[in-house]
Subunit: 440 residues, 4 copies
C-alpha cells in the first residue's frame, strides 16, 4: 500500500472545508494523507482562496506532513487521486433560494432536497457529477468517490446507473445526528445500542436494539413523541414538529426528520411560509451564515475549525467523510449509514437502486447490513419516492420533458395535472442557465 | 359434472339483478342453471321482492327451465351452491353519500372507491364479505365466489388473505368499457386487438397490440388524448377530463379513467364540488336513478332488462359475471380482466396481493396472463396504492385505529397529519353503526 | 394487414417438412400463405430437392394459391419474410450419433438434448441460429422466429439474451403428446381439461384440472404410475420406464418423459447401453428411418404426408408450428405450451430466462399464463438445470473453455472433476469442425 | 443488564467442552459468566462427569468467579438461561459410523454432513433440537440458542421455520480455518483482508479483498490451486484434493473444502473407500481420538485444554461460540461467518431459509452483510442443495417417507430411482431406534 494518500475535494471552497481538514488532521496517525487538493470553479475562486488559506494554516498548526493545494484545474487535481470528495453546489445559494421560493408560490414546499426544489437541484447537479466521474475514469480510475453533494441519494444512484462507476459512497449527516440525540435521550452510550437504518436518503426509518438484544424502538418513540415528550433536537435545517404518536406507534420504527414533509405536509408548508416571511427561507439564512463564516475564515490567525460552523446545518458531515476514507483505507469495519447500491438489501426496491442503509465500511467499500422488507406503511411511500427518484435522475440525464413532468407528478409534495406543468415550466425557465440538457 | 347449477346472488335486491338474469338466460344453452337464489337482508326486502318478481317474469318469458328463489335466509340459500355472486352495499346509498360529502368538507375527493370514501366502504364491507366466506366454508365449500361489490380489489384481497379462500374472482366493468370504446375509436373489431391490462382495481394501465403484433398504444394515446382528440366516452360515474398528453406519451400505456383522481387531482376536486352543488353527488344521482329503475321494475308486464339500466354506471358488470361463470364451467379460456391473486404476475407487488389483470378463465379459475414489471412512473403509484390497500384491509379486519390512520396518511387523495386524523374521526363516527370492529 | 404471407423454413430439407406443409394447407382458409421458402445448405441440397418437390406436389394437390420455393440462398429467402421457422441440424445425424456414443464410453447418458450430448448440440447450433437472427434484423426485421431446433429451450434463450431478438417462440412436441395421451387415459376430451405446464424445455411439470375446477393431478398420477397402471404411451425417442410412485405422489405434479434421466438415471443408462448394442442408438435408428422416409418422398405420385412420418419422433411438432403462426396472425388466443421469456412467470428462475410454459398465443406473441413458484422438490432441480443452461449458452457464444467445463460439472448427467474434463475434451475434439468458437 | 450470565451447554459431555471453557475463561473480563451448566443424557453420564470435572478444574485454576454445574436434568438447567449452546450427537459415534458405512456399500459418499449420511443425521437430530426449543420457550424465553450441532445449517433452518424461534445462530469452523490459512498463504494479517462469504453450511464460496479495495480472489485461487500451488491446509475431517484450476478460475470465488464432494465426486469416493479400508472411516478415527482425549481428561492434574484436542476436527468451533456470545452481549459488531435467516441477503434463496454468511454480530444477533446474487455456476448448485435441505428438514419433522425419498433423489451425492429407495430403506432401518417420527 502506498504511503502517502492523495485526496481531492471538489467544491473545496465550501464553508464545510475546515471540518473536513480537521477530520483529516485528527486521523493523521492512521490515515497518512500527503496531498489534499481543494478544487473549485472560476466563480468560487475567492472563497476557495479564503478557505484554502485557512486549511493551510490548520495543517501547519497541526504540524503534520501534508500539503494543501488550491486549484481551478480539476483534471490536474484528479490525476492519481486515491479519494475524491464532492461538496459542490451548482448555481450557488441563489439557485437554492429559487428552489425554495418558486414552489411556495404554488402553495407547495420549497426545500433543498425534497419536493420540486430537490428535483431541480438534481437536474442541475447530476450532469456535473457525471462529468467528474468521466474524468475520474481517465485520471484516477482506482479512486473512491465520496459524495456529500445533495440530493446525495439521487447523485449516488446516477453515478452507479449512468456513470457506471461502482466505487462511490454517498453521505448524509441525518443518521449521525439521530444516533447522537437518541442515545442521549435514552441515557445510553452510542456503543451500547445497535441502530438499524434503512430507506433512501432523507427518507429512512430505523430501529434501536439494546445491550441484551431487546428492541427498544417503541420506548424511544414514546420518549420522543409520546404525550410527555420534550421537543426533540434535530438537524438544523428543518422544523421540529411533533409527529402523530398513533402513527409512529403503528410504524414501530423511528422516521427521519424529513418525514415531516410527508407525514404532516400542511403544517410544514404553513411553517415554512411563516419562516420565509420572517427570517427568510433556509437558503437565505444559510447564505447569511456562510457570509459570516467566510468573514471568520479570513482571519489570518484562525487555524482551527470555529464553533460557528456547527450552526451551518451540515454538522458531522465532513467528519463522517473522513471516517469513511479511514475505514476503507484501514479495513476497519466501522458501522455507518451511507448511500450505496441496493443489490437486494432492501427487498422492496430495485436491485440497481441507491439506498441509504447501515453498512460496514471495509476495504471493499460499503457493505450493507441486510435489511429485508418493510411493512406496508413504510413500503408504499418508500417505493413511490424511489420511482420518483428514478424518473428525476432519468430526466436529469436525458433532459426529456415528459420524464421531468412525470417525476413532478409522482412526487407527493408536488401537485398533479396543469399545476405540476406550470410549476415545472417556471422552474426550468428560472434555472435555464444550469440546465443545458433541457434546452437542446 | 352435475346437470343443474345452483347460483346464489347476495344482494339480490340490487337494481343490477335484471342484467344478471338476462346474462344467464342468453347463456342457458351452455350454462344449465337450475336454481337462482336471490338473497337480501331485512332492510332490502321490498326491493328484493320487486326485482325478484321481475327476475321470475324474465325467466318465464325466456321459457327456460330455471327456478328463481327469493330469500332473507342466506345460509339456506348457500347450501350446495355452485357459484355465489356478491353485489351488496353495506349501509345503502346513504352511507355512500356520507363517503362523498364528508371528505369534500376537507377539500378532498369524495368518491365511492377512491380516497377516504373508498376506504370507509372497505371498512364496512370487508367484515360482511368475510362472514359470507365463513358460511361458504360450511355450506358450499366447493363453490366459486364472484364478487362485484366495491372496492372490488380490496374485497378480493381480503377474501384471499384473511378469508383464506382461494376460489374467488373480483370483477369490474371499467376494462370492459375501455375495450369496447377504444376498439370503436381505433375502428377495429375487439377480436382483432389484444388488450393487455395490469394493475389493481381502479388503478390499472393497458397496452394494445394489433393483428400483426404491432404495439399501437401510442396511436391510441394520440387518438384519445392528442391535440385533435375528441372527448372520450368513459364509464358513467366519473368525469371525463382530458389527461396531459405529454404525461401519457411518457407512460406509453393507457391509464384507466380513475387515474384522473391521481393525475389531475385539483381539477377533479373542483369538478366534483361543482357537480355536488348542481345535480348532487354521484351517490345522490344514482339514488334517484335507482328509484326510477325500481318504479319500472314494478311493472308486472316488464319481462326483460330495460335500457334505462345502462345509465346506472355498472353496465356490462353483471353480464361479465355470467361470462366468468360460463367460462369456468365450460373451461372456455375466455380472456377477461379480473381481480385475482398476484403470485408474481406483476413483479412489483407482493405475491399474496390481489391484482387486476388480463386473465384466461379456465376450469381452474382465473389464470393471469403474466405481466412482469412496470416502468417507474406506473410502478411507484401502484406500489403506494397497494400498500394503502393492505393497511385499509388490515384496519377493516382488526379495527385498529393506528392502522386506519396510517392507511389514510398513505392515500394520496387524503391529507396527512392532523387533518387526516380529523377526517378519519369524523368518518368513523358517521358510520359508527356499520363499524362494530372499531368500537370494541 | 397484407394479404399474402411469406413463410421461410430454414432446414427445409428436413424429413419433417411434409407435416409442416400439411399444416399450412389445412389452415389455408384462415392463414393466407402465398410463398413458402424452403432453405437449406449445400450439403443438404439433395434432400431439399426431394422433399421440396414433394411439398410442391402437396400444395398443387390441395389446389391452394401458394408458391413453394427451394433455395440455398438464405438471405434472399429471408427478404420480407413474415415468419421464419428453423428446423436445422448442424453436423447432421453423424454429429448426433457422436453425442450419443462418446458419453456412453464414460458410463453416461448419450442423448440429443440431455446430458453432454445436448450441451454439444447447443455449442454447435446456437452460433448458427444467432447468425440467422442477425440476418433477420437486416432482411425481415418484423418477422417472427418459430424455432423447433433442439435444444429448443437453450436456443430460445440464446436468441433472447444474446441475439437481442424478442419475436421468438420455441416449440416442442412433448407437452402436446402428454395432453393427448393423458386426456385419453382419463377418458376425457382435451377441451374439458385444463393442463397447466411450467418448467424448461424437456424438464417441465404439469397439473391437470377438471371441468368443475377440481385438481385431478393425483388421480392422473395413480392411473399412470400407480400399482395398477398400464404402461404409458410417451414420445417415441425415450424409453418408457415407470417412475417411482411415492416420488410422484410427493411431487403432486406430473413430470415430463425426460425426467426419467434425472429421476432414474442408472436404469436409463443401462437401458440405453442395451439399446445401443441392439438396434443402435436413437440417432442410428432415426438415420435409418429418415433414409426410408426420403425413399418414400421420392415417389412422384406421393402428394400427402405419409403415415410413416409419425414414427420419426417429432409428431405434431410441425403442425404445432403452423398453429402458432395461425394464432399470432389471427390473435386467436390458443393455449399452447411454448418456450418464451420468463419475465417472472416462474418466480424461481431469472426473469431473462427462457422457460417452457402454457401460454396464450395472441397478436403479441406468447403470453405465458402465470405460474408462480414450485415446491422444493421441483424447484432445486429446475434451478440447477437453468444455471447449467446459462453456462452452456454462454460457452456456446464465447467459446470459453472454463465456462464449458463448468457447464459440464453443473449437469447432473455428467460427472465432475477429471472425468468431466476428459469427456469435454473428447467431445470438443470430435466436433471440432462445427465449433470454430472454441478454436480461436 | 444483569451482572452474572448463565450459560447452558447441551451435550456438555462432549470432548469439545474444554475449548469452550477456555474460551469463556479468556473472555471473563468482558463476559461475566456466573454459571455454566453442562447438560447431558443418561448414556453420556460418564463422559459428562469426566469432562465436567476437568471443566471445574480449569475454572478453578483460572481463578474466576464462575460455578460449573453438571446435570442430566435439562429443564432445570435451562431455567433462566441467557445463552444455550448445543453440541449434541444423537445416536453417538456408532450412528455416525453407520452413516458412513452404509452409503459406501452403494458406491456413494458416506459423510457426516453431506450425502445420505448428513440427511440421516438431520433426521435424528432435528426433532431433538426442536424439543429443546420448546423447553426454551417455557424456561428461558429470552435466551439465545448458539448451535454447533451438525448439520448446523439444517438445524438452524429447522429452528427458524418449525421451531418458530428467531434467537438462534448456527456456527461452523470451516470459514474460520479458511480465513486463517488463506491469510497466512497470502502473507497478510487477517485484519488487513476482507473476506466475504456466502452460501449455506458446508457449501459456501468467498471472495477476498485487500487493503486498498482490490479483489484478490484470483490471486488466492492461483496460489492455492494454480500449477505451482503447494498442498493447502484444510479442516482435518476431509481429504485435501486439488480442485480443477480452470473451474475455480471461472468461479472467481474460493469454494469451501466440502465442495470437493460435488466438484470431484468420483475421486472423493475412491479416496474415502481407500481410507475406510486403511485407518477406518472418519467416524472410526474420531472415535479413537475421543477415547484417548477422555483418557487425558481423566487426569486430575490437567486443568487446561490439551493440544491434542485440535486434531479432533472442530478446532476453533467452541472458541467461536464464545466470541458470538461475547459480541451479542457487548454489541461488539465482530464480523463472523454464521448460519442465520436469509431474508433476502442471498437473493437466489428463499427468504425464510437459513444461510451461512459473513455477518456482524450485534446486540440484535447476527446481521448479515448483504450479498446479492451468485453467477450461474454457483447459483444452480446452491439452489439445488437448499431445496434438498428443505425436503430433508420437512421429512425430519413430519417423518413422511415420500418427502425423505424426494430429499434423497434431490441430493447429487445420492443416486436416483430404485437405488435411492433401497439406500433410504436400509438407513431408516439401521437408525430405527432414533427415528420415531418415521415409525408412526
Amino acid at each position: 500500500m502506498k504511503k502517502g494518500l492523495k485526496i481531492v475535494t471538489i467544491g473545496g471552497g465550501s464553508s464545510y472545508t475546515p471540518e473536513l481538514v480537521e477530520g483529516f488532521i485528527k486521523r493523521h496517525h492512521e490515515l497518512p494523507i500527503k496531498e489534499l487538493w481543494l478544487v473549485d470553479i472560476e466563480e468560487g475562486k475567492e472563497k476557495l482562496e479564503i478557505v484554502g488559506a485557512m486549511a493551510q494554516r490548520m495543517v501547519k498548526a497541526a504540524g503534520i506532513e501534508c500539503e494543501v493545494y488550491l486549484t481551478l484545474d480539476r483534471q490536474k487535481a484528479l490525476k492519481d487521486a486515491d479519494f475524491v470528495t464532492t461538496q459542490l453546489r451548482v448555481g450557488h445559494m441563489e439557485a437554492r433560494i429559487k428552489d425554495e421560493m418558486i414552489p411556495m408560490k404554488y402553495g407547495l414546499i420549497g426545500q433543498e432536497t425534497n419536493g420540486a426544489g430537490g428535483m431541480l437541484k438534481a437536474f442541475r447537479t447530476i450532469p456535473v457529477i457525471l462529468e467528474i466521474v468521466e474524468e475520474m475514469k481517465l485520471f484516477c480510475p482506482k479512486a473512491w468517490l465520496i459524495n456529500f453533494t445533495n440530493p446525495a441519494g439521487m447523485v449516488t444512484e446516477a453515478v452507479l446507473r449512468y456513470g457506471m462507476w461502482e466505487k462511490v459512497i454517498g453521505l448524509c449527516n441525518v443518521p449521525i445526528v439521530a444516533i447522537k440525540n437518541e442515545s442521549a435521550l435514552l441515557e445510553k452510550k452510542e456503543s451500547d445500542l445497535f441502530f438499524k437504518f434503512a430507506g433512501i436518503n432523507h427518507l429512512h426509518w430505523h430501529k434501536i436494539y439494546q445491550h441484551d438484544g431487546q428492541n427498544i424502538t417503541r420506548q424511544a418513540i414514546n420518549k420522543l413523541y409520546g404525550p410527555d415528550a420534550k421537543p426533540e433536537k434535530i438537524v438544523a435545517n428543518i422544523k421540529n414538529m411533533r409527529f402523530l404518536h398513533e402513527q409512529l406507534t403503528q410504524l414501530e420504527m423511528l422516521p427521519c426528520p424529513y418525514h415531516r414533509y410527508y407525514y404532516m405536509t400542511d403544517a410544514m408548508i404553513q411553517e415554512e411560509i411563516e419562516e420565509a416571511q420572517g427570517e427568510g427561507t433556509r437558503g437565505q439564512v444559510v447564505k447569511r451564515l456562510e457570509e459570516s463564516l467566510f468573514e471568520l475564515y479570513k482571519d489570518p490567525n484562525l487555524d482551527h475549525k470555529p464553533v460557528e460552523l456547527e450552526k451551518r446545518g451540515g454538522a458531522y458531515y465532513s467528519d463522517a467523510a473522513c471516517e469513511i476514507i479511514n475505514s476503507i483505507y484501514n479495513n476497519k469495519g466501522t458501522q455507518m449509514v451511507v448511500s450505496t447500491r441496493n443489490q437486494g438489501a432492501i427487498s422492496d426496491l430495485p436491485a440497481e437502486s441507491a439506498i441509504e442503509i447501515t453498512s460496514v465500511i471495509t476495504a471493499h467499500g460499503a457493505e450493507p447490513i441486510h435489511f429485508g422488507s418493510f411493512p406496508p406503511a413504510q413500503r408504499g411511500l418508500l417505493q413511490l419516492m424511489k420511482s420518483m427518484e428514478e424518473l428525476t435522475i432519468e430526466a436529469a440525464v436525458t433532459g426529456d420533458y415528459g420524464t421531468a413532468l412525470q417525476a413532478f407528478i409522482s412526487n407527493p409534495l408536488v401537485q398533479s395535472g396543469d399545476s405540476a406543468k406550470a410549476l415545472l415550466d417556471e422552474l426550468l425557465d428560472a434555472h435555464r442557465e444550469y440546465l443545458p440538457q433541457f434546452n437542446r
